[in-house]
Structures are given as structure tokens and as C-alpha cells.
């Protein structure tokens, strides 16, 4: 069992959990993920590591309630435990000194997994410019954390309630327009955002890394459910990734695969639980 040390609701439906998992925390590196299971009937949920504290022995995860499983997780309180917590999984981000100027782009709750990468890049002495995108100011997360590890932060909101009105690609364009020499972009967020970033950097020839979070079961290479087309190869996000060269990723297939169980789960959402499990529907 893995204890929840801390729980915060960052914005409606978006939660921050610190989970006690000292062995995982000892090994975790930026870019890696964990798989958790709330209870014996639960799904295995993959989540990218948002932070780790080796001294406290904790791993931070940030998640949004999107279905029954994340709903169930969100109902656990600090002091409760979850049944299974496995990691760190996947390849860590490539971070070293002398990589130059790195633009870290986080969209929505994608800011959380980009944070340890920005921090790692910053600690390695690289120049870090962060772009944080959200629908509006009140659901922007991790701003303070991102500012602490970035040389510069650009915020975009869809509704213009804070920072630049528009999308993360508008902020990226501003950097390009002012002549910023960008050596690498790391973008994490919804598929559609990552695709837009990749399409923006492709003509400029800027190396762009994306971190994918496809549907998976085991997270160790066994099921192949997380396969993604990268160039002319099929890769498994869990063992080959989760980070890939964004210019080679087939986002169409990736996003379509992400919708695989949507209908089935939507049907289930309409189901009214008679034994009080599902919470509010």
C-alpha cells in the first residue's frame, strides 16, 4: 500500500497528490512515469511524474478527473493509501549541460510533467524559457514552480484572462520573431497542442521532443497497447519512450487510439451506481 501524504485541488477537477514511495523516489528521473491502481478492481493508470523528493521519499502526481478511475482516485484523501504504485517507468529525458536554450512548453496539466524537465535543464545550466498554456487564468497550475526554474516564463490563456491571449504556439512565435535562438523545444500537453507545436517548429528545423501518454496496461512493454508510429517504426511508448522526436510522431493515429474506449466509458458514465461507488455523475 502507498500512502497519500498530501492532497491539493489545484483547480476544479485537477489534483496534486504526493505519494509515499521511497524506492521509486530514489530512482525517479525527469521524463519518467509511474503506473498506479487505486484498489483491487481498479485500472492501471499511467501518470507522468510531476516531481520527486528523494529525502521525503515521495512522488508527486498531477491528474485531471476524466473518467471513473481518476474520479475514484480523486476521492482518496491525505492519509489514505492506494493499492499499487509502480515505477519509475520509461526512459528519462535527455538532460545535460551545454544544450543551449530550451523552450519547455506545457499545456493544461501538461505543465506538471514538463516541470521536472525544466528544472533538470535549468540545474544543468541551460537557458530555460517556459511557455505555459491554459484555457483561463484560474485553471493555470504550477506557475510559481515554473518561474523558479525558468529564465523566462510566457503564459498564454485561450480567453486572454492572463498573459498572452491565444495558444502556446503564439508565445512560441513571439520568441522566434524576437530572434531567440532555440536549440530544443520540449512540449507536453494534449495531443492537439503537441501537434501544433511540432508543426510550428518543423519548418524552422528546431528539434522538438514530445512526451506521450497513450493508453497502456502494464507499462513495461508487455501489452503493446501504447504503440505509436514514429517515422516508419512502431514504438512502444512505455519502454522506448515516453519521449519521442515530435517531428516523427503520427499524431493522427495517436489521438485516434486515445479515443479507443471513449464510447464504452461514456455509456458507463450514464450508468447510475446503486451502491454508491461512482460519486457524482
Amino acid at each position: 500500500m502507498f500512502k497519500i501524504l498530501k492532497k491539493m485541488e489545484l483547480s476544479p477537477g485537477v489534483f496534486h497528490f504526493d505519494i509515499e514511495a521511497p524506492r521509486v523516489a530514489k530512482k525517479a528521473l525527469p521524463g519518467q512515469f509511474i503506473v498506479l491502481r487505486v484498489n483491487d478492481e481498479g485500472e492501471r493508470i499511467p501518470l507522468t511524474i510531476a516531481d520527486f523528493d528523494r529525502e521525503k521519499g515521495s512522488i508527486t502526481i498531477i491528474f485531471q478527473v476524466v473518467g471513473a478511475s481518476t474520479q475514484l482516485l480523486s476521492q482518496r484523501e491525505a492519509g489514505d493509501s492506494i493499492l499499487d504504485f509502480v515505477g519509475p517507468l520509461g526512459q528519462p529525458s535527455h538532460i545535460e549541460k551545454g544544450m543551449g536554450t530550451i523552450v519547455c512548453v506545457g499545456g493544461g496539466i501538461g505543465v506538471a510533467p514538463v516541470y521536472p524537465i525544466a528544472r533538470g535543464m535549468h540545474e544543468a545550466g541551460n537557458k530555460v524559457i517556459s511557455i505555459m498554456g491554459a484555457k483561463s487564468k484560474d485553471i493555470l497550475i504550477f506557475e510559481k514552480e515554473m518561474r523558479a526554474v525558468s529564465d523566462e516564463v510566457l503564459v498564454t490563456t485561450d480567453d486572454g484572462s492572463y498573459g498572452i491571449k491565444g495558444f502556446v504556439t503564439n508565445a512560441l512565435q513571439q520568441l522566434v520573431d524576437r530572434g531567440e535562438k532555440i536549440d530544443q523545444v520540449t512540449a507536453i500537453g494534449p495531443g492537439i497542442m503537441m501537434r501544433s507545436v511540432v508543426e510550428a517548429t518543423r519548418p524552422l528545423g528546431i528539434k522538438t521532443i514530445v512526451s506521450l501518454n497513450p493508453i497502456m496496461v502494464d507499462g513495461t512493454g508487455m501489452c503493446g497497447g501504447c504503440r505509436v508510429q514514429v517515422g516508419d517504426e512502431t514504438k512502444f511508448a512505455c519502454v522506448d519512450g515516453p519521449e519521442f522526436d515530435g517531428h516523427l510522431v503520427d499524431f493522427g493515429s495517436l489521438m485516434s487510439r486515445g479515443r479507443m474506449y471513449r464510447e464504452q466509458e461514456a455509456e458507463e458514465k450514464d450508468h447510475v451506481c446503486r451502491i454508491g461507488l461512482g460519486g457524482e455523475k
Partner: protein
């Protein structure tokens, strides 16, 4: 009394009924039938059957005990060489092993050795006997086992009995490996058989740590240098599923058999939404491949509600690698075998979901490297099977995580860990390996045999290390 040329029939669930439930298909012999079947054994002076058994169970001896109705002795004899008899009695391909060599097989059917093994194991399990934990010496040496599948469980059991303190590290949240995630409930009951075998191992004193991915949570070097393990056995199994590399394979509705079976067996997706993991089946399913895993996936699809399930296999019936009994059961349940057919493309609809599987007919040519006649496509014979789900069951390759994080551990060209066939010794001192990670995908019993041999070799190694 004239000797029956045929085995005593195994009582089974009616095919029409069982195709819609996950209960075990074969119900097992009762005492009377078991004794009668045991009496078919001629107790040959030079028993051939043992030659076919990868763990050399003393088959004539245990069968003699069943004849005498001394079932306790029968199971003791089996357990001397086989730590998971209730599993092997159910899933071993006996027709290619022990029963292949039985002299009765020349004129009729071999003795039902597998069925008798299962009978003895089930009798013993039903008695629920106390297992005495091992009393370890204060300075007992420690062995780490990576992977709680057949190879690891068998190595762990043998090592514990020799007095070593064993910890098994399992990546998934449940021990058992393929016994838990792969082989379906209707062929190998999880609570009744698999979990019980695992519990027995724990009662013996073996520690099992689930949620522990070797190579990520710790390296093999760390286990040996920092955590005080004197030897390591790697039995991580056949990890990554192979796909065909044909167009459309990433469409929604295309599964690897590993994923499909894991969702159903390990995550209990058949009980969605009570269990939260979903699975997609649809009305028509095509399973590609002809091995046991393909049969399992096909029969699971049927039980999940598919109306029509095809097996698409590129060779002919004779080459089907599955156990004969599985093929027979699958046919009884109404699986539609499309032999000498090979998929060339998965065709999707506008939403990106599977709509059809395009296949081409094959014919058999000259024998290939495997000795089987090579299938050759018949030009212009393509046709489309209308299906909602395609399950690829054409085999698996080795998982790279342990090998890639263990310096000094040599692998073969295919990425399998290179290990001595007799001892499991690898290029790294103190590290042994066995099962599918060494041989490529094979059977439960071969993996168990490898675990057993490695346990003996580890014992030798540690004795030498100590002296």
C-alpha cells in the same frame, strides 16, 4: 481384463454452455476414473514417458500410487520434480512430451498422464494441508528471482527448499506471470490453482515483492552489491508482443494477444464496469496465429460475447502449434478456422476503427528451416473478412529492460539473454537466467524445467562461493 485402447474421457462442460462462461472447461477425473485410467499404465520396465518430461517426473511411480489409491504418495512423487503439478496437469502439451512416448500410443491412446497428474494435484490441494515454513540458518545466503512466472516460481521453490532465502521481484501487481495474465481462467483457474500455488510458496518462506520492475526500481548490480543478494535468477519471460508490420495495425480494435488476454485475465475486464478496465470485442473477431495463445484469445473473445470468431493461420491444420486439446476445444465451441490464410492489411472505417481484415490464401511449398512446409501466397486470392476486432497472436520477443540495464550480461542476436542450457549461467558471475527470456516464447513446463536446472546450478555456485 482387456486394456482399453482409449483414454478415459475427461468430463467437460458442454461446449454450448461453456462458450459463454469463464468456468473451467475440463472438470477433472473423479477417483474411480483416475484409478481406472492409472490401471491402463503397463508400468514398463524401461519407461519411455519420463524421457519426454522436461522435469523428469517419475511418471510410472506416481501412477502406481494412484492405482493403489495412495494419492498422498502420488503427489509427493510428482512434487519431487515438479513444483506446480496442478498447473502442469492442465497446460502441458502432453501429446508432445510424456504421452508421446507412452507405448500404449502405438496402437491406441497413450495413458492420460496429464489428467492423472492433475487429479493427484487437485486431491492434494483439496486437503489444504499445512505447509511448514522453512527454518533458515542464521547465515542463509540470499537469492533474488526476477519475475514471478513459471521459471521464477519453480526456481524459487527449489532454492527455498535448499535453504536459501529467496525474494521474488515481480513487475506486475500480481504474481504468476503468464499463469496470471495470459492463460485464461477457463483453462487454468486463478484463485483455485494459481494463487494457491503462489500462496504455498509464500508459506514456505519465499518473499514476493510485486510492483517491482527490475532494471528500473533497482538494477541487478544493486541487488548484488547493495542489497546483499548472493545470486540472481532472471526469469522475465517473453516480454514484447510481435506485430505483423502490415498496414492498419495501429487502428483501434487491433490488439496484441498479450494486451487482450491481460485485460481479460489479470484486469478482469470481462467484469467491466465492476472492474474498471475496459475491453473491446465487437461481433466478429479475427485472431491471427495458431498457437495456444491464439486459441486462448479466440475462446476468450467468444466468452466476452463475440458472435463469430476466426482463427487466421498461414499454414495448415497439421502445423498448428497449439496443444491438440485446445484446437479440439476451440472447434467444439464454434471457432471458425481459416487455415492457409495470411493477413495482408487491416482496413479501418472513417473513425479509425477496424472494419475488415484483408487476407490472402496460402499454399504449402517446400519445407523451410523449421522443417515445416513453407506457406506461399496464392497470387490474386485476396479477400476481406468483416471483423470488429483483430488480435495478433504471432509470438513475443524478449523484454529489453533487464538486459539493457545490466552491464556484462550478454544477449543473443535476437535480444534474448545468453545462458547455458544446462545451468542457466550467464556471462555475468552469479547471474543465472531461464525460461522464455532465454529460449524465446515456449511452454510453461520448459520454463519450469529451466528454473529447476538453474536452482541446482545456483546451489552449486553458492556452495562454492561459501567454501
Amino acid at each position: 481384463m482387456a486394456l482399453s485402447l482409449e483414454k478415459h474421457k475427461m468430463p467437460e462442460q458442454d461446449p454450448k454452455v461453456r462458450a459463454h462462461n469463464f468456468d473451467e472447461v475440463a472438470l477433472g477425473y473423479d477417483e474411480e476414473t483416475a484409478v481406472a485410467e492409472a490401471n491402463r499404465c503397463l508400468n514398463c520396465k524401461v519407461p519411455q514417458c519420463r524421457k519426454g518430461c522436461p522435469v523428469q517426473v517419475d511418471i510410472p511411480a506416481f501412477i502406481s500410487k494412484i492405482k493403489e489409491k495412495d494419492f498422498d504418495s502420488a503427489i509427493s512423487i510428482i512434487k519431487e520434480s515438479n513444483s506446480l503439478p496442478a498447473v502442469c496437469g492442465r497446460v502441458c502439451p502432453q501429446e508432445n512430451q510424456c504421452e508421446k512416448h507412452c507405448v500404449l500410443g502405438i496402437k491406441g491412446e497413450a495413458v492420460g498422464i496429464g489428467r492423472l497428474e492433475r487429479f493427484a494435484a487437485d486431491c492434494s490441494m483439496a486437503k489444504n494441508e499445512e505447509i511448514q515454513p522453512i527454518q533458515y540458518a542464521a547465515d542463509a545466503q540470499k537469492v533474488a528471482v526476477i519475475g514471478a512466472g513459471p521459471a521464477g516460481l519453480s526456481a524459487a521453490g527449489d532454492l527455498a527448499k535448499k535453504g536459501y532465502k529467496v525474494t521474488i521481484f515481480e513487475a506486475l501487481h500480481t504474481a504468476g506471470g503468464v499463469l496470471s495474465y495470459g492463460i485464461p481462467e477457463f483453462r487454468l483457474p486463478k484463485d483455485k490453482v494459481v494463487q494457491k500455488e503462489i500462496e504455498n510458496l509464500e508459506k514456505l518462506g519465499v518473499d514476493i515483492e510485486v510492483n517491482s520492475v527490475a532494471g528500473r526500481l533497482f538494477t541487478i548490480d544493486e541487488l548484488m552489491e547493495e542489497e546483499g543478494f548472493d545470486a540472481v535468477f532472471v526469469g522475465t519471460g517473453a516480454g514484447l508482443p510481435h506485430f505483423m508490420g502490415i498496414p492498419g495495425e495501429n487502428l483501434n480494435g487491433v490488439y496484441s494477444a498479450n494486451e487482450f488476454l491481460t485485460r481479460c485475465n489479470l484486469m478482469k475486464a470481462y467484469d467491466f464496469p465492476n472492474h474498471a478496465t475496459p475491453i473491446h470485442v465487437g461481433r466478429n473477431v479475427a485472431v491471427v496465429g495458431g498457437g495456444n495463445v491464439a486459441m486462448d484469445a479466440a475462446r476468450t473473445s467468444l466468452r466476452l460475447g463475440a458472435e463469430h470468431v476466426y482463427i487466421v493461420y498461414r499454414r495448415s491444420e497439421e502445423e498448428l502449434p497449439a496443444r491438440r486439446e485446445e484446437v479440439h476445444h476451440a472447434k467444439e465451441e464454434g471457432i471458425d478456422f481459416r487455415l492457409l490464410n495470411n493477413p495482408v492489411e487491416v482496413i479501418g472505417d472513417e473513425k479509425g476503427s477496424v472494419k475488415e481484415l484483408r487476407c490472402i490464401r496460402m499454399e504449402l511449398g517446400e519445407p523451410d528451416a523449421s522443417g515445416r512446409r513453407r506457406p506461399i501466397p496464392v497470387k490474386g486470392s485476396e479477400f476481406n473478412l468483416p471483423v470488429d476486432t483483430v488480435i495478433i497472436a504471432i509470438g513475443t520477443g524478449p523484454n529489453p529492460i533487464v538486459a539493457s540495464t545490466t552491464p556484462g550480461l550478454d544477449t543473443t542476436k535476437r535480444g534474448n539473454i545468453a545462458a547455458d542450457e544446462e545451468t542457466g549461467a550467464t556471462s555475468k558471475p552469479g547471474v543465472f537466467a531461464g525460461g522464455d527470456i532465454v529460449t524465446g516464447a515456449a511452454t510453461v513446463i520448459l520454463a519450469m524445467g529451466a528454473g529447476k536446472k538453474a536452482a541446482a546450478a545456483i546451489d552449486e555456485y553458492l556452495k562454492k562461493k561459501r567454501s
